[in-house]
Symmetry: C2
Subunit: 131 residues, 2 copies
Amino acid sequence: MTASPKRRMTSQRRIILEELRKTKSHPTADELYVVARKRLPRISLGTVYRNLDQLAETGEILKLEMCGSQKRFDGSTHDHFHVRCRICGRVGDVDATLSLPDLDRFKADQFEINGLYMEFVGTCAGCESRE
Amino acid sequence: MTASPKRRMTSQRRIILEELRKTKSHPTADELYVVARKRLPRISLGTVYRNLDQLAETGEILKLEMCGSQKRFDGSTHDHFHVRCRICGRVGDVDATLSLPDLDRFKADQFEINGLYMEFVGTCAGCESRE
DNA sequence: ATGCCTGCAAAGCCTTTGCATCTGC
DNA sequence: GCAGATGCAAAGGCTTTGCAGGCAT
């Protein structure tokens, strides 16, 4: 069993978390960097990445690995789906409790939804045997 | 209306397509580059990328933008889903015609499936108004 | 005091692109 | 012949990492 390191609440981590929870825009690491720099002008992009990774590890935030685009982060961890703009990459929320919508007409959070991407996640035989 | 450029069947494009159709492994561009180089030792990685993009544009192959990992390519364009190994990133096929499986037990193509990633795709208000 | 964390900068990985040359049609 | 394609190499975008010093506990 691996002991997990003790985490410290630094001002950097606190501000990153606050700013992420303050927005609904699912920002990228560098967008968050720009925002955080207004309060901590000397914060570095590396620190932003490191803290986002740690916060995602502990489940305090979500790391969104959207298909084929830059990673984004989400301060809300409640059960919901995401919609990605196929043109600009902007991401919005889709409530997990809604009934299956008519995708041609459904609009959520300012998006016109017209597609669904689905992929299964699992463990391949090789990796499974090695665990 | 934009005229699309005339495409030429070069030996590079033909061999990339042949090798991609020959395998079920959903290779990445650099994996395909290694294979293609056995037949065309002077082919460049840039050429592999350019041809894969063109073949995907014409629908001859699929460009898989799997979540949070390198792009992969698929020589079969029939209707199917993919399963991604959360450990090594390897990708397998899941037939689109099967009934909804018990995901805890279902195995397909050497994968133990235990999750499903879903994301909606659409157009955001800003991009929609600009079209 | 300890060891986790930071800023900075460099490196890493994947992908795209500029350019001179070559080649399919 | 000419537009499109190639090889090579450099640059680009995003992310990670090594290191010396800094700070929460």
